[in-house]
Symmetry: C2
Subunit: 350 residues, 2 copies
């Protein structure tokens, strides 16, 4: 029987971290080809190609400095080459590049292959508001697409700190194979069937994290912050059941690493929380603040705007007072000091 | 129709805070007698009785300094007097005094009265391991007993910070009445039917908080901490369904303020987390550490010991690796550095 091949499409810090794990695991597992191709968007570092550096030094000096990759992880600048023989495509791109990359993958994807997305975010689709990144993969490539989500920052996983993740795979066989590829002694994995719920938790939590930062910036304490986090969690849940109810989301998903754990870490640390804090403690616009925060944009305000547009069009703003207030504060349409008064008549307390 | 009477049995910082809220609310509601009696364990402050000070200054200078109580909250040193005409008994005592107080209440409790417990903890009962504090109330007083739990520290609620609470009341009428007594503009309440789940979450979360402190003390970062909090949450849930499944606990309870929100705040702040941190960063025994931490004992190690005894007797320790490891670390039977290796084969990841 032919050995199965795994490729990693993307090589940022999370992609490189996962390539390290998968490279190690395939060399221990039977049934897999030993080589793991990793697609790298080519760039030059001190006159040398990044792919050459990775393949010589076994280190992604640009995005995951100081972490050794196994020798069987092979960088390639050619996405079609990386993908064409793969049975398992691990997709971990900055999500603005997804559409373009799908177009490049489409002609080469192997029959019977499947994808797993490690991306946290949403795509916009004009009419229906938001679109799942995995739906873009499923529809463009005509293959199944699972997800792996959870409270796992690349920096902590790459240093082999104990972390968890959730694999969402509607096909049980895919879930089991992915777990064998991803789990290590320090990186512990639960499998659920609910792909859609897991993916949406990963995207929506960023709105709540902005709210958590606003509360901190306003000087409120732990219990107020816990109340805001929980109300945000309830809006995530309501949103998923309201708009994706036909995709069979599960209550249990919210208690997985992709749910409550990812929410907690994002609300206590990370870029979106810092953005909320900054919004509450300055008069600058979102754009000005983003320029200040090392130039990287936070996902939360963007997701809040997308969700707000969707809710407004359907006259549902009053059912999601936290999502709505976060968006308005990001857009500077509402003073941060008014945040809590927007939550006083929350549907959860009716 | 006779006006209904509400009494508060207990006057620590949480009891006094609740008396403030209830005193204000009954004066605005129809159907309630304006006076709220509050039982105060009498003590002398600078030669003056605490009850007299409270009734003259309208401030509990001993346990809630700086917060004005409404004039209709009347302190009494006589618990039978406080209770005998009450239709609603709000019980908020240090729980080691509960048994004794129940014996004093038993002969005077009014027919048709009910109780609501605001206490977080467990009682030991020799044979079955743990016993609910509310079961002691129900059995000793032969009246229904609801609970109010949640992420709400007295200090924050008394300063009117926005907080949430969960009322667990199997009787819908009781739940509705209690909400009218407790809810304010800044103190927002959800009602659930699951009394038992709500109460147990409040007690068991303290074990998890010790674990969260251990992780912090060991120098691990956010995602490891989130993993530990979540695994603890899963053990709380498994424990409640395993041992109290016949009391009809509900999945939804874990997403209420009494569940996830109380867990989060307790794991990020508070005495139990500090105790865990101290256990991981010193060689002192639990007793030595408790003497150091302002002499107040933390509930978590005690609850962990009770739960451990119960699990051991039933050969279930391997289903609760986090509860077990926390107990062993508290008892100094396991080095804190071994904590995570106990979680590597967690049932959640099987």
């Amino acid at each position: 029987m032919a050995l199965r091949r795994v490729s990693v499409i993307g090589s940022g810090n999370w992609g490189s971290t996962i390539a390290k794990i998968v490279g190690y695991n395939v060399s221990e597992l039977s049934g897999f080809h030993n080589e793991v191709l990793m697609w790298v968007f080519e760039e030059e570092i001190d006159g040398q190609k990044l792919t050459s550096i990775i393949n010589e030094k076994h280190e992604n000096v640009r995005y995951l400095r100081g972490v050794k990759l196994p020798c069987n992880v092979v960088a390639t600048p050619d996405v079609a080459h990386a993908a064409k023989d793969a049975d398992v495509l691990i997709i971990v791109l900055p999500h603005q590049f997804l559409r373009r990359t799908c177009a490049q993958l489409k002609p080469v994807v192997k029959k019977g292959a499947y994808a797993v997305s490690l991306m946290k975010g949403l795509a916009m689709s004009g009419e229906n508001g938001i679109r799942l990144l995995t739906d873009m993969i499923r529809e463009e490539l005509s293959i199944p697409c699972a997800v792996m989500m959870g409270a796992n920052l690349a920096s902590e996983v790459s240093q082999e700190y104990f972390c968890e993740a959730t694999i969402g795979a509607s096909d049980g066989k895919i879930g089991t194979e992915l777990k064998s590829l991803f789990q290590t002694k320090y990186f512990r994995i639960s499998i659920i069937r609910d792909e859609v719920g897991a993916e949406l938790c990963g995207a929506l939590k960023n709105i709540v994290a902005v709210g958590s930062g606003i509360i901190e910036g306003l000087g409120f304490k732990d219990n107020t912050k816990a109340a805001v986090i929980r109300l945000g969690f309830m809006e995530m849940r309501a949103f998923i059941f309201q708009f994706f109810g036909d995709r069979d989301p599960q209550e249990g998903t919210f208690l997985e690493s992709c749910g409550v754990a990812d929410l907690i870490t994002t609300c206590y640390g990370g870029r979106n929380k810092r953005m909320g804090y900054a919004l509450a403690t300055s008069n600058q616009t979102l754009e000005e603040l983003e320029r200040g925060l090392d130039g990287q944009s936070a996902q939360g305000p963007l997701t809040a705007a997308e969700v707000h547009a969707m809710l407004k069009q359907r006259n549902l703003l009053d059912k999601y007072p936290l999502f709505t207030a976060v968006h308005k504060i990001c857009a500077r349409e509402l003073p941060p000091s008014e945040f809590l008064s927007c939550l006083c008549n929350h549907p959860e307390h009716m």
